[in-house]
């Protein structure tokens, strides 16, 4: 399947099936870290997670770009969001006794997924535009 086609299917997903798939993949990561302990399984699940969320994010922020750039920039922003959430967890752990374990990672990833879903659902960009104008 062509990347453009795949992107179109994922980006068009209004029922949130792919968002659920991303969440399921994170649960799979948690199970993998407890049961299978397999980097291959981890890589497959991570690819699913990154692909879905990169496409969704790319379609929120980089509509004017072509497919490849849209997905890559989506991946870049996704990595930035995950990094920011991870950093926030570390800073919060200075005050509260929080551990950065597999569960916390899954929580971060799901928070990112929900945030992306929220951005899409409430037409985040438009919302921002209204506020700034």
């Amino acid at each position: 399947m062509e990347l453009g086609k795949l992107e179109e299917i994922i980006a068009r997903d209004d029922r949130g099936v792919f968002t659920i798939l991303a969440i399921v993949s994170t649960i799979g990561m948690l199970i993998n870290s407890i049961t299978f302990l397999s980097p291959i399984v981890g890589a497959v699940l991570t690819t699913i997670y990154f692909l879905v969320n990169s496409i969704l994010l790319g379609n929120v922020f980089f509509k004017e770009e072509n497919t490849n750039f849209r997905i890559l920039f989506g991946l870049l922003v996704l990595l930035m969001i995950i990094a920011l959430e991870g950093a926030s967890l570390i800073i919060i752990s200075a005050v509260f006794p929080i551990r950065f374990d597999a569960k916390a990672t899954v929580a971060i990833l799901n928070l990112a997924t929900i945030a992306i879903w929220f951005m899409r659902r409430v037409r985040f960009a438009k919302l921002l535009m209204l506020k700034t104008s």
Binding site: L45, L72, G86, T105, A125, T132
Partner: protein, 849 residues
């Protein structure tokens, strides 16, 4: 048919490029050695060819590749550059890079920021603000690496090793390309900009390792792109959100890059305001922009100085510094100290970019973007110059400010390069002999077109720049720091063996080691791991390690156990560290032999060459037991009583004898390597520590007689523990004293004649043969220095050198050369600063193996 040709050419280009890249990777991998850094002579020439080939592909219009294809090749080249560097430096450079891996390991293993496991809470994290400040440092990197590692279920080491290289190779060329496109350039310029942004000589080294500063530079280039998009796109709100995200991330990644991104955002905002003001108030707008620019320039100095409010920093600025520079340095700044090659390597892009800015500003309609980039460029230069001229204690390395420059200048340098190529007109055919028409037809020679030559020269030149940048970084980060420039795999293996032992026994331990093995160990088990504690420099690792090598005494190792309460201490000694800390003439094998005696046979010996490591184990447990008996005369009746012993370290065993019920005691017959210490409670005693102890006491009092012994050296050939006879003054000062109480000899200089004065005593020895070690136990008053010489007839066979004595008794160990007959010994007290000096000599022993 033409389509098939195009497709086959396209496939051929991809295959050739990829095959060349894999060949280079294979050469790099196959010539990698664990023992030393090695750059295969084929590697860089081939890399030069591939890079030149890439630039030819970018610039040529004849090669049937789309812009997307060319960009893909730029990405492949970017990955190739990073993969080669990863292989060359595998398993990573030592120092910062490894310590960050150690912090990530701590977070990965314990789920906690490393400072929360620190057994000693540093003062700077005792307040909430200080704690938040410390915890935010590098948190982006640690958070991202740990998250990815847990997602992929791949060890944190591999993620750390490849993260920066992957992010840089994948995104930086792409952002360079897109940035150039926003500025309104054509595809060729944009592709050139992409290649240059990823590989500019000044920044290429930052992409080799995952450190917060590198990640900060990466987010800087991302922020510049988002800023340009926000200034040019209709979807401003989208990009404002992304700019906020990038700024927040940059601030949490590294202070310098964070502040710089913030300054760039401020500059972009000022520019927007300037353009809106200019419509109504032109003068006000210009003043506003100038003022904003000055504010931006002053932000780094202000932030550097004000940072002390939250963290103990040391940055300061002074006018004095600029007066110390000559005019040459003031004008040329960093270029003043560059060689010609360095000037070309680092200056070419900048010069091309300045020309590019002028060319582009004349042609382009996107004046605001052009102005922003030009101001950003001037701002970085201004920041650098302000810090260079006025900052006496820079918070960040000055060269780091210049590292921002290529991210701004690369797109403009690409414009100039393109201009050079397009401005060169094709040459007409030239005849060798225009007069002869016959010959003209026979010998008509077509020279290559000027454009082709210029293009080829530019491709070779750019390729040479990139290769030179790469080689410089290989030198600076690797070869010049050999053999401790990279994190040795032998040290890592040693740490792994210790870790596996821990997994079997679950016995907690501490490790004292050389700095490279320290990093390697922490990278494996984490920093401040309470059960597997590698001492860092703040815990005195290096001091303990150097003291162990220098004094060859296990005493200092006891300090290592205080942080995690372990009784087991591992010592990892890399071969290079002995030469580094004891001098190039130090005999590594001899030092290892002595350590083997002190600490037991090596737990492991890993590797070969300068990076070879020895691992020793030392148990710091308080041990007690029954010792040998000594002969006692209690009121002239001979009895034999056993002693008791106690020790933590075999180098310092205390033997005790308890006696009671008599008035006169006479004790003799203790082993030669024992040294009499004291009688408790004090009694009226007459002592010759070499042979006997006589004292009188009360029959109702229980007396304890105490000896110390160094059980690592039991085979004593000769000793003097009393200093009662045989010692002869040989000079130099007259106002000295040398007294003994039958146990301790006190040698002192009361009023030295010169700053470094000395008094010397000698004693003849009974021609001692096959002695291996000289042990001396002594202490000194503050700043007193001692020295010893051992002689074979008129030849000095051992010199201790001048050593400052400790104020508590300490055993000093000296290894004697083989096949010598010792005939005389000198002991000297030295005044280091012209003040009185006293050395208290407890004993001198010569021992055999």
């Amino acid at each position: 048919m033409q389509d098939i040709d195009t497709l086959s050419s396209r496939i051929a280009t991809y295959i050739t490029f990829t095959a060349l890249s894999f060949t280079i990777i294979y050469i790099a991998a196959s010539s990698w050695s664990a023992e030393a850094l090695y750059l295969n002579p084929l590697l860089m020439p081939l890399y030069f060819l591939v890079t030149a080939f890439l630039f030819l592909i970018i610039m040529s219009n004849r090669i049937p590749l789309s812009t997307g294809d060319k960009l893909a090749l730029i990405l492949i080249h970017a990955f190739l550059t990073r993969i080669v560097s990863i292989i060359f430096f595998y398993p990573g450079t030592s120092g910062d890079n490894t310590y960050h891996l150690a912090h990530e390991r701590t977070l990965y293993t314990f789920g906690k920021y490393y400072q929360s496991l620190n057994p000693i809470t540093p003062p700077e994290i005792q307040s909430l603000i200080g704690k938040l400040f410390v915890f935010h440092r590098a948190s982006i990197q640690y958070g991202l690496v740990t998250s990815l590692s847990k997602m992929l279920y791949i060890d944190v080491f591999w993620i750390h090793l490849s993260l920066m290289a992957t992010l840089w190779s994948l995104f930086v060329p792409m952002i360079g390309f897109k940035t150039s496109k926003i500025l309104g350039t054509n595809d060729r310029v944009a592709l050139l900009a992409g290649a240059l942004t990823a590989n500019a000589p000044m920044i290429i080294g930052w992409s080799y390792g995952t450190v917060p500063n590198s990640l900060g530079f990466f987010f800087f280039v991302v922020s510049i792109y988002f800023l340009l998009k926000s200034l040019s796109s209709k979807n401003t709100s989208n990009y404002i959100f992304l700019i906020l995200l990038a700024t927040g991330i940059s601030l949490l990644t590294h202070a310098l890059t964070g502040i710089t991104v913030f300054i760039m955002v401020l500059l972009a905002f000022s520019m927007q305001k300037y353009y809106s003001l200019r419509r109504t108030h032109s003068t006000t707008a210009s003043s506003f922009l100038a003022l904003s620019f000055l504010t931006c320039v002053m932000l780094i100095p202000a932030a550097s100085v004000l940072m002390y409010l939250v963290y103990p920093t040391y940055s300061s600025y002074s006018l004095q510094k600029i007066f110390d520079y000559d005019i040459y340095h003031i004008i040329l700044a960093n270029y003043a100290d560059y060689t010609t090659a360095e000037t070309l390597t680092y200056g070419t892009t900048t010069i091309l970019a300045i020309i590019g800015m002028i060319i582009h500003s004349q042609r382009n309609d996107k004046k605001n973007l052009n102005l922003f980039m030009m101001l950003a460029f001037i701002l970085i230069i201004a920041e650098y110059r302000v810090n260079l001229y006025f900052c006496t204690k820079p918070l960040f390395g000055l060269h780091r400010i210049l590292t921002f420059e290529p991210f701004i200048t690369a797109p403009f340098a690409a414009i100039t390069i393109n201009y050079l190529i397009t401005a060169t007109k094709p040459a007409s055919s030239v005849s060798l002999n225009p007069k002869s028409s016959k010959r003209e037809t026979r010998f008509k020679l077509k020279f290559p077109r000027n454009q082709a030559i210029v293009t080829l020269l530019i491709c070779l030149g750019l390729s040479a720049l990139i290769v030179e940048g790469d080689i410089t970084n290989f030198g600076d980060l690797g070869f010049r720091r050999e053999p401790y420039g990279i994190n040795s795999v032998y040290s890592t293996e040693a740490a792994r063996l210790i870790h596996e032992e821990y997994l079997r026994t679950q016995e907690k331990y501490a490790v004292v080691t050389d700095p490279v093995s320290e990093g390697a160990g922490m990278a494996l088990v984490g920093r401040y791991n309470p059960d597997e504690f590698y001492l860092f420099k703040y815990e005195g690792n290096l001091e303990i390690f150097r003291s162990l090598l220098r004094d060859l005494s296990t005493e200092s190792l006891l300090n290592a156990t205080q942080y995690n309460g372990a009784t087991l201490v591992y010592v990892i000694v890399a071969k290079w560290s002995v030469a580094r800390y004891l001098g190039p003439s130090a005999d590594f094998q001899q030092v290892m032999d002595i350590l083997s005696r002190l600490l037991g046979p090596p737990f492991a010996i890993v590797g070969e060459g300068d990076r070879q490591v020895y691992v020793f184990r030392f148990r710091a447990e308080h041990t007690t037991g029954t010792g040998p008996s000594v002969i006692i005369y209690e009121d002239f009746q001979q009895v034999s009583l056993n002693t008791t012993y106690s020790f933590i370290n075999l180098g310092d065993v205390t033997y005790q004898l308890n006696v009671t019920g008599a008035t006169n005691y006479s004790i003799t017959g203790w082993p030669t390597h024992w040294s009499y210490e004291q009688i408790r409670p004090q009694a009226n005693a007459s002592i010759d520590s070499n042979a006997w102890i006589n004292f009188t006491g009360s029959p109702t009092v229980n007396y304890t007689i105490e000896w110390t012994a160094n059980e690592y050296y039991p085979n004593v050939v000769w000793k003097d523990d009393a200093f009662l006879q045989g010692w002869r003054y040989t000079g130099r000062v007259s106002n000295y004293s040398f007294t003994t109480d039958g146990d301790i000899a006190t040698e002192s200089i009361d009023s030295p004649l010169i700053a470094q004065d000395w008094v010397n005593y000698e004693r003849q020895l009974p021609s001692l043969q096959n002695c291996r070690t000289l042990l001396v136990r002594l202490k000194g008053d503050a700043n007193s220095v001692f020295s010893m010489l051992a002689w074979q007839n008129k030849t000095i066979v051992l010199s201790s050198g001048h050593k400052t004595a400790t104020t508590k008794f300490k055993i000093y160990t000296f290894t004697l050369p083989n096949n010598t007959t010792l005939t005389k010994i000198w002991i000297s007290t030295i005044t280091p600063e012209g003040k009185p000096a006293t050395i208290y000599w407890d004993y001198i022993m010569f021992t055999q193996d």
